[in-house]
């Protein structure tokens, strides 16, 4: 049953994307067709299936310790998911680290449920053959903040350290192609081929990017992808070595980017190409 649902969704999405692409090609413009495709998808967002599965994974007793995640503190108190996405990344006393949603979930799944860290990291990104628990949990927790506004506070010194490191990394050029994030994301109205690039130095564009996706259902991937995956994918395209999952560098960039989206109204999971 689950499989046939999923298949139906994948087909619907493929159709919507094809139609969107056709419109774009006909008009010679990228944005109109893509906007139409997104609108069609948003009305019946396949990501909702990941939200449901994430809720189940959060409340079910699982793992070697047969525990749910209802004692997982995402910054709002044990088990509280509402508003958690809006204030992440943030500093956590127990780990003495600044953590984003994924790295915090990783901590909870290891500490509370007894899963092996390597196992979670290996399955961090879903494939067509295997769903990722992380992608489902992030979808659920993201959606639990819907209607709230991004509010990353930077009250702890380590949060401010992360923010500044993220800003530094955003402008840091390296690799065989001399890319930094800002190479593609420093001006408005730019595209790589037909893919529009948000200007990440502009708050109004960032509020949209962060508050309405990631997590986002990616039509070309047939799954929900998280911010960690978005950053990993950028590093891949920049010809950088694999970006370590939940690495400080990834959390620093997310701290910088999420903070710049403060005030954005959350509507997750998003829908992306």
């Amino acid at each position: 049953m689950k499989f046939s649902n999923r298949t139906a969704v994948v087909c619907a999405v493929a159709m919507a994307l094809t139609m969107a692409g056709g419109t774009a090609a006909a008009q010679g413009k990228a944005d109109d067709g893509l906007a139409l495709g997104r609108k069609m998808l948003a009305e019946d967002n396949p990501g909702d299936l990941w939200v449901e599965r994430g809720q189940r994974l959060f409340t079910e007793r699982r793992g070697p310790k047969n525990a749910s995640l209802e004692k997982c503190d995402l910054g709002m108190g044990p088990g509280v998911v509402k508003g958690a996405f809006a204030q992440l990344p943030r500093y956590f006393t127990d780990t003495d680290r600044v953590q984003d949603l994924e790295s915090r979930l990783l901590t909870c799944m290891v500490e509370l449920q007894g899963f092996k860290r390597e196992e979670i990291v290996r399955n961090r990104f879903g494939t067509l053959d295997r769903d990722s628990d992380m992608e489902a949990l992030v979808s659920y927790i993201g959606a639990a903040s819907n209607g709230l506004r991004m509010n990353v506070r930077l009250t702890h010194a380590k949060e401010r350290e992360m923010y500044k490191a993220g800003e530094y990394a955003f402008y840091r050029r390296s690799g065989p192609l001399d890319f930094a994030c800002v190479t593609c994301h420093g001006e408005s109205g730019k595209r790589i081929r037909l893919q529009e690039l948000p200007n990440m130095t502009k708050a109004e564009e960032m509020r949209e990017v962060i508050a309405t996706g990631w997590p986002a259902y990616r039509g070309t991937h047939s799954t929900v992808r998280t911010m960690q995956h978005r950053l990993y994918d950028c590093f891949w395209q920049m010809r950088q070595p694999d970006l370590g999952f939940a690495s400080d560098l990834s959390v620093a960039l997310t701290t910088y980017l999420n903070h710049s989206a403060n005030g954005g109204e959350i509507k997750l999971p998003g829908v992306r190409r």
């Binding site: 090609a25 010679g28 010194a157 401010r160 350290e161 923010y163 500044k164 490191a165 993220g166 800003e167 530094y168 990394a169 402008y171 840091r172 050029r173 390296s174 690799g175 065989p176 192609l177 001399d178 890319f179 930094a180 800002v182 190479t183 593609c184 420093g186 001006e187 109205g189 730019k190 595209r191 790589i192 081929r193 037909l194 893919q195 690039l197 891949w236 395209q237 010809r239 950088q240 070595p241 694999d242 970006l243 370590g244 690495s247 400080d248 560098l249 990834s250 620093a252």
Partner: protein, 216 residues
């Protein structure tokens, strides 16, 4: 306490409070961010991990708040980047700076090459030249980016003289010789493209038979 001492104490207290509520300074930030970069990549051979290490020009082009074109560079920095870029430029053994435009055509729309997954570089016979990722070139091609300027009719406007071929070749080989910190990658200098490949791309841009220069 003398008023002057009061001032010192108050200033010190003020600075301490500012330190608590404020952001780390640039030097501290650079140090912690560089540590994070060093720790972020663990998969793959050392040569691949080293891609995240900057050369001097990249470091100078990474100023916070800067964008392509390096508007915040000092004259000395600019000169150093241009000199390093000029010194990097090598030419095809044949001496021919304009090669075969048909081979060039295949390269300019090819956006692949050198990407890493799980510590392994994608296996390809050659790297694409990545041009249409950012530039409109063939007027008939819709699937082109706009991060860089349009190059449609490039040769029709400039001709295909030796001087145009040389300028175009050098500009692709190392864009920073002309515009320090340009968004454009230093495609020849980094070894991403061979001198021969660049000559083929030059031909595609400047030769009269190329679709780039045929009136639509």
């Amino acid at each position: 306490m003398k008023p002057a001492n009061h001032f010192v104490v108050l200033t010190a207290a003020g600075l301490a409070i500012a330190g608590c509520a404020g952001f780390p300074d640039a030097e501290t930030t650079a140090k912690s961010a560089e540590r994070m970069v060093n720790e972020a990549h663990t998969l793959g051979a050392p040569a691949l991990i080293r891609r995240s290490v900057q050369d001097d020009s990249q470091r100078a082009c990474s100023m916070i708040g800067g964008t392509g074109g390096g508007a915040n560079l000092s004259q000395e920095q600019s000169a150093a980047i241009v000199k390093a870029a000029r010194d990097s430029i090598q030419y095809p053994a044949s001496g021919k700076l304009s090669g075969d435009w048909k081979t060039g055509e295949q390269l300019v729309t090819d956006g692949r090459g050198q990407r890493i997954v799980n510590g392994q570089v994608e296996k390809l016979p050659y790297n694409g030249a990545l041009c249409t990722n950012c530039h409109a070139i063939d007027p008939k091609e819709v699937n082109a980016g706009n991060v860089g300027p349009s190059l449609a009719a490039y040769g029709a406007q400039r001709g295909n003289s030796e001087a145009v071929a040389r300028y175009t070749y050098e500009r692709i080989y190392n864009a920073w010789a002309f515009m320090p910190c340009s968004n454009m990658p230093r495609l020849g200098a980094s070894g991403f493209l061979t001198p021969e490949q660049i000559a083929h791309v030059v031909a595609y841009l400047i030769e009269p038979g190329s679709p780039v220069n045929i009136k639509p």
